[in-house]
């Protein structure tokens, strides 16, 4: 897209269309099928496992220095409901995000490239007055969170492929659910696919035919090379549980297991992973069973740890989740996610991904998920308290979970998902956070020499 064209759009403001959507979808399906649509929409800008990702950058307007300036007021209004369709790039389109006014102000300041702020109208001026702290840096962070750079080139932003790998869609989700979801996406992971980063699937306003076309394509995809889904995915069937067994499983899930540390079930539970209500409508049974045992295999990059429980109990819990009544619904998006540190040290990176959602980025026990836990997560920054805990105790808690230490059973066991070096790196990072050492008596090894 030329700078001129972008400027023209900006000056022209909005044009709305209610026409052509169905026709566009039908045309896309006839001409190119789901794959064409996926490539055109730029799904691969966020998701791995699907083709494309570059085409969208050709048609989405670039931002930042060197790009055509764009009126801040235009961005501000457009982002409220970007139902604009440009016939020249169809079926590609700008999707709709659920943004509040402050976010739109911040984004407008970041992407407009109008340092003089000439294109500010009365509404934006009033909004800026209401949100005097919303600045360009906040817009930059939001730009990153939403992965705008996946489509829009911006010299100050990197695109990130962090949304779920779609090559295993067929083994994960139920077809009828997928079609409905694509047409009307809702939040699945309340704090984003990378918990705490806050990204969400936007609404592409797909019509029924488009959604079906994409779903058909995704469901036929084969898994990544060498990643055959575990046997459970195809073979496993949920048990028909008696009400007694359902109660037993529910009690285990709430009172003993760590699942609800991250997942919401009813009114209980955390906001890190997808909610567990109605999973029978969303997910295939075998996947529900298999993900507990081997999440890294089915959802590469996930922070969900592999369960250390025995197969009979996994059968019970999976059957319980699949046998529960209750409609599947999306989650409420977690607001006010703290900025994640730019971590590169192994311990810091692991901590940011796996610990910070509950324990807080700085170890203050104030992670975004903390309000949804029955007890306050341990404050790793508390030197006095942490100096009483041996390194081994920290390691053991990471390995086997909080329950074995008489602490919260909602703290999961990462023993099967982190290696020894990773666990020790985490212990070292916690020690850096508390600026303390464990008690002298607790350190192993010959000491008198």
């Amino acid at each position: 897209m030329s700078a001129r064209a972008a400027a023209a759009i900006a000056l022209a403001g909005f044009w709305w269309t209610a026409t052509g959507a169905a026709a566009r979808g039908a045309a896309a399906q006839e001409a190119h099928g789901g794959q064409v649509l996926i490539e055109a929409l730029g799904c691969a800008a966020c998701h791995s496992g699907v083709p494309g990702g570059e085409a969208i950058r050709e048609v989405a307007p670039p931002f930042g220095d060197g790009a055509a300036p764009m009126a801040p007021a235009y961005v501000f209004h457009y982002m409220a409901d970007p139902q604009t369709v440009r016939p020249d790039i169809a079926p590609a389109r700008m999707p709709r995000y659920e943004l509040d006014e402050r976010q739109r102000v911040a984004l407008a300041l970041f992407v407009s490239n109008d340092r003089e702020m000439r294109g500010v109208d009365q509404a934006l001026r009033a909004a800026m007055a209401r949100h005097p702290d919303a600045d360009r840096a906040e817009g930059a962070a939001l730009f990153e969170t939403l992965n705008c750079a996946g489509c829009h080139v911006h010299p100050e932003a990197q695109s990130r492929v962090t949304a779920p790998d779609l090559s295993l869609t067929g083994v994960r989700v139920r077809p009828e659910w997928l079609t409905g979801y694509l047409a009307n996406p809702v939040t699945i992971r309340p704090a984003g696919p990378v918990p705490g980063e806050g990204g969400q699937m936007p609404d592409f306003r797909l019509d029924a035919a488009e959604a079906a076309s994409i779903a058909d394509y995704l469901l036929e995809l084969e898994g990544p090379d060498g990643a055959d889904p575990p046997a459970e995915v195809a073979d496993w069937e949920p048990q028909a549980l008696s009400p007694f067994a359902m109660q037993k499983a529910g009690t285990l899930l709430r009172n003993r297991w760590s699942c609800l540390g991250c997942h919401q079930l009813g009114e209980d539970g955390g906001r890190i992973g997808p909610r567990l209500d109605g999973v029978a409508q969303r997910l295939r049974p075998g996947y529900v069973r298999a993900i507990m045992q081997d999440p890294a295999h089915l959802a590469p990059g996930t922070i969900m740890p592999a369960s250390l429980e025995q197969p009979d109990r996994l059968d019970l819990i999976a059957s319980f989740l699949l046998g529960r009544d209750g409609e599947w619904s999306g989650s409420e998006t977690v607001a006010d996610l703290p900025a994640l540190p730019d971590a590169t040290a192994p311990g810091a990176e692991l901590y940011a991904a796996r610990c910070a959602p509950c324990h807080g980025v700085g170890g203050a026990g104030d992670g975004f998920n903390a309000p949804f836990l029955p007890v306050t997560p341990t404050v790793h920054a508390d030197s006095a308290a942490m100096a009483l805990r041996p390194d081994d105790t920290l390691y053991d808690g990471i390995h086997a979970g909080g329950w074995i230490l008489g602490k919260s059973h909602r703290m999961p066991a990462f023993g099967a998902s982190l290696n020894d070096g990773e666990k020790r790196a985490l212990v070292a990072y916690i020690r850096a956070l508390c600026r303390c050492e464990g008690p002298a008596w607790s350190r192993d090894g010959r000491r008198s020499r």
Binding site: P243, F244, K248, L252, D392, A440, W441, D444, G445
Partner: protein
């Protein structure tokens, strides 16, 4: 006081000791001597018929059943049978100084002990039950029971050690040398269970409860009928842990249809144990595998054990634990409550013990092949896995490198003595501290292998390898350092630590402080009062009751502040004593009763009485406390008040044969012989087999020189209570006076045999033998 009266008093005290022990057990529902087991299941709305036995479980739960059947629980005992008897019943005699005992199987296949004792007719005792299979690695034993004429089932004195492959007996109540192998130097009566006095089941007349050596064992006294002893099995069956299964079997009999669709599958008639909390899980095991004082009958799996048993109360008086919770005398695996794995973690028995087969598994239920497999520990203590040698300092494949070698060593239970192996792995899971271990009289884990090295040297090695080791908690440190010479302020600071996490330790510290530094009615220093008050805030009923009882006992307002004063001082939800849960109040009463006994032992009768009166403020009209008050008055010779107390006790609970007997003793001492006879007869009406009723009735006849009647009732008394030396002695006296010297001599011998300290009995025997000689 005339000799007869003295002997009467002696026996009265024996009876009092029995009933007091039951009183300590807080049997306030049915009363000592009453139908304690009759209420056992009825209290829970359960009858014997609600139990179906293990075989009923096998068809649906074949896997669990087969594992259980091969387990130490499944093979814990049963009917005498070559398959479960490990002791040699081959006629090889056990030779005592004064007796020979032949264990043999007769032609009908019956297991028998033939007892040939000098001066007595030969006795043949039938083995009616086998207890234990000698399975325990640290010392496995097997015992035997027989049915007695009074309906009880009693333990025989002849036990067998698998490790020694020898017969032994428990001398605990006689020569007090622990468990000793049978030798020709021993007298038969050196064995505490000769004649047998320990019963299967719980009856308050007997001081030893053995309800755990089988499944659903009940010894019940039907008033007017006598004792009936029953059990489902003499192994430990499914319902011992899962509860009565009749309803479950009935509900699940029709297994047609879709279980998910049928509402009847919402209630399967049994609770799930998979969802047990830590405490619920421990309850099931500790109902047998821990010391405890019974505060109410009727515990069934699924109930909260704290409502039925007080696991920390045995610390008062008997003090079975060392300062760090390890076994000082004899205990079971309740020492787990002192382990860091429990105090600072959530470990239960089933964290390591697979509950059906009783094999081992890790915290994630991965089966382990052996009890020494490190993964029992390292599935939680994972940090020790990667470089174990930096922690163990022992070659990786050597026994010394196994976690349990150092942290769960097998320790001989001291009360047993050293002659018969009875070591159990230390469930406090301690850190080896060779010097401290030695100071406490224990063989440290290091010394268990390195027998050639001194504790000093071993300690030096420990210091060299590990430097500073994990410190003990503050209460344990205080218990180790405190001396009786210290003042109450200093002792309080050392022993009372309300913020220490271990409930067992906090209880031990307060128990020591209470028994050594608190004088009834003399108040507490402000700092100690503050600490005790904070201890009373514990949700643990044992600790709360102990703290409340401490405040109450120490109350210096002459009782004016009363139990409500203790409640008010402690704070919390209860406004008055009546609001306090019964489980706490029962413990509170028992603790005041214990302190009263202690005061009595110091001959401080006013304090003893004041403490009992304070106990009555906690549970007004409590039959056991009133009975203790009556015994106290009997002891001081205040018979009118004794009569009043016993009468009030019997008003609260009429089915107390021993309270009747003691009331009779008070009436007799007041000169009301006719009234005494009525009370003894009333006791017999409740329990036709109560030997003390016959004995005391016979005493009346002896005093009035009605020798034939005296002899008749003494004879009944020694049949029902063959262990009663005084009854044998008085029978010998009565027979002697009628000139039946030959009949009298064996009873005089029995009197000396069972009561070696009874000089009167020795004199009578000497006189009889002199009269007999030509």
């Amino acid at each position: 006081m005339r000799p007869a009266a003295a002997s009467l008093a002696l026996v009265t005290l024996v009876a009092a000791a029995c009933s007091d022990r039951a009183g300590d057990a807080g049997d306030t529902v049915s009363g000592p001597g009453g139908p304690s087991d009759a209420a056992r299941y009825a209290a829970a709305g359960t009858t014997r018929e609600d139990f179906v036995g293990a075989d009923a479980c096998s068809s649906c739960h074949a896997d669990q059943y087969s594992r259980w059947a091969a387990s130490t629980h499944g093979r814990a005992g049963g009917e005498p049978d070559p398959a479960n008897v490990i002791a040699p019943f081959d006629g090889t005699p056990m030779v005592f100084r004064d007796a020979t005992v032949l264990p043999l199987v007769d032609s009908a296949g019956r297991f028998l002990f033939v007892v040939r004792q000098d001066g007595y007719p030969e006795q043949t005792i039938t083995v009616d039950g086998v207890i234990g299979g000698g399975h325990m690695l640290g010392g496995g034993t097997q015992g035997f029971v027989t049915r007695a004429p009074d309906g009880t089932v009693r333990f025989l004195p002849f036990d067998f050690s698998r490790q020694l492959a020898e017969w032994f007996c428990n001398t605990g109540s006689r020569t007090d040398e622990g468990w000793v192998p049978v030798t020709p130097e021993m007298a038969l009566a050196d064995c505490g269970d000769w004649p047998p006095t320990r019963i299967l089941g719980t009856l308050s007349r007997f001081t030893n409860c053995q309800a755990c050596h089988g499944s659903q064992i009940t010894a019940r006294l039907e008033p007017g009928a006598g004792v009936t002893t029953e059990w489902t099995a003499l192994n430990i069956n499914c319902e011992s842990c899962h509860g009565p299964a009749r309803r479950h079997v009935e509900l699940m009999a029709d297994r047609t249809g879709d279980p998910a669709a049928s509402p009847r599958f919402a209630d399967i008639g049994l609770p799930s144990r998979v969802t047990d909390s830590v405490e619920e899980s421990l309850d099931a095991c500790f109902s047998c595998h821990a010391l405890g004082d019974v505060i109410a009958e009727g515990y069934l799996p699924g109930a909260r054990l704290a409502d039925y048993q007080a696991l920390k109360l045995p610390i008062l008086g008997d003090d079975p634990y060392l300062p760090d919770g390890r076994v000082r005398t004899f205990a079971y695996q309740g020492t787990h409550l002192s382990s860091s794995c429990y105090v600072d973690g959530n470990m239960t028995c089933v964290s390591c013990h697979e509950p059906h087969g009783l094999g081992y598994w890790d915290i994630n239920r991965v089966p382990l092949a052996s009890e020494t497999d490190d993964r029992q520990c390292t599935s939680c203590h994972a940090a020790k896995v990667t470089a174990p040698e930096t922690h163990t300092f022992h070659a990786a494949d050597s026994p010394g490198a196994r976690c349990v070698s150092c942290h769960m060593p097998y320790l001989q239970h001291p009360e047993v003595g050293a002659a018969v192996p009875f070591a159990r792995s230390d469930h406090t899971i301690p850190v080896p501290r060779p010097q401290l271990d030695g100071r406490l009289g224990l063989v440290s884990a290091c010394r268990g292998c390195h027998t050639d090295r001194s504790e000093l040297r071993l300690q030096a090695q420990v210091d060299d390898w590990w430097g500073e080791t994990k410190p003990v908690d503050r209460v344990t440190a205080g218990l180790l350092a405190v001396t009786d010479r210290m003042g109450p302020d200093q002792a309080g600071r050392m022993l009372l630590h309300p913020d220490e996490p271990g409930t067992m330790a906090r209880f031990q510290g307060l128990a020591r402080f209470l028994t050594r530094w608190v004088r009834p009615g003399e108040g507490l220093a402000p700092d100690a009062a503050d600490r005790v008050t904070r201890l009373a805030a514990s949700p643990d009923p044992d600790l709360r009751a102990l703290a409340l009882a401490t405040l109450h006992a120490a109350d210096s307002t002459r009782g004016a502040a009363g139990a409500d004063g203790a409640i008010a001082a402690a704070g919390g939800p209860a406004a008055t004593v009546a609001d306090e849960p019964l489980a706490v109040r029962r413990r509170w009463v028992m603790i005041l009763g214990f302190l009263s006994d202690e005061a009595l032992a110091r001959d401080d009768v006013p304090a003893a009485e004041a403490l009992l009166r304070r106990a009555l403020a906690v549970i007004p009209g409590d039959a056991a406390v009133l009975r203790s008050l009556g015994l106290l008055h009997n002891r001081t010779g205040d018979y009118p008040r004794a009569i009043a107390a016993f009468t009030e006790s019997l008003g609260a609970d009429p089915d107390q044969p021993l309270a009747r007997v003691n009331l009779g003793i008070a009436r007799a001492a007041s000169g009301d012989a006719a009234g005494a006879v009525r009370e003894y007869q009333a006791a017999m009406a409740i329990d036709p087999n109560e030997p003390l009723a016959y004995f005391n009735l016979a005493n009346l006849y002896l005093r009035s020189d009605d020798l034939p009647s005296a002899i008749r009732f003494y004879e009944r008394a020694v049949v029902l209570g063959p262990e009663l030396g005084a009854a044998h002695r008085n029978l010998a006296l009565a027979l002697g006076r009628t000139g039946r010297i030959e009949d009298a001599v064996p009873h005089a011998r029995r009197a000396v045999e069972f009561s070696p300290g009874d000089q009167t009995a020795r004199d009578i025997l000497a006189q009889l033998e002199a009269a007999r000689s030509p």
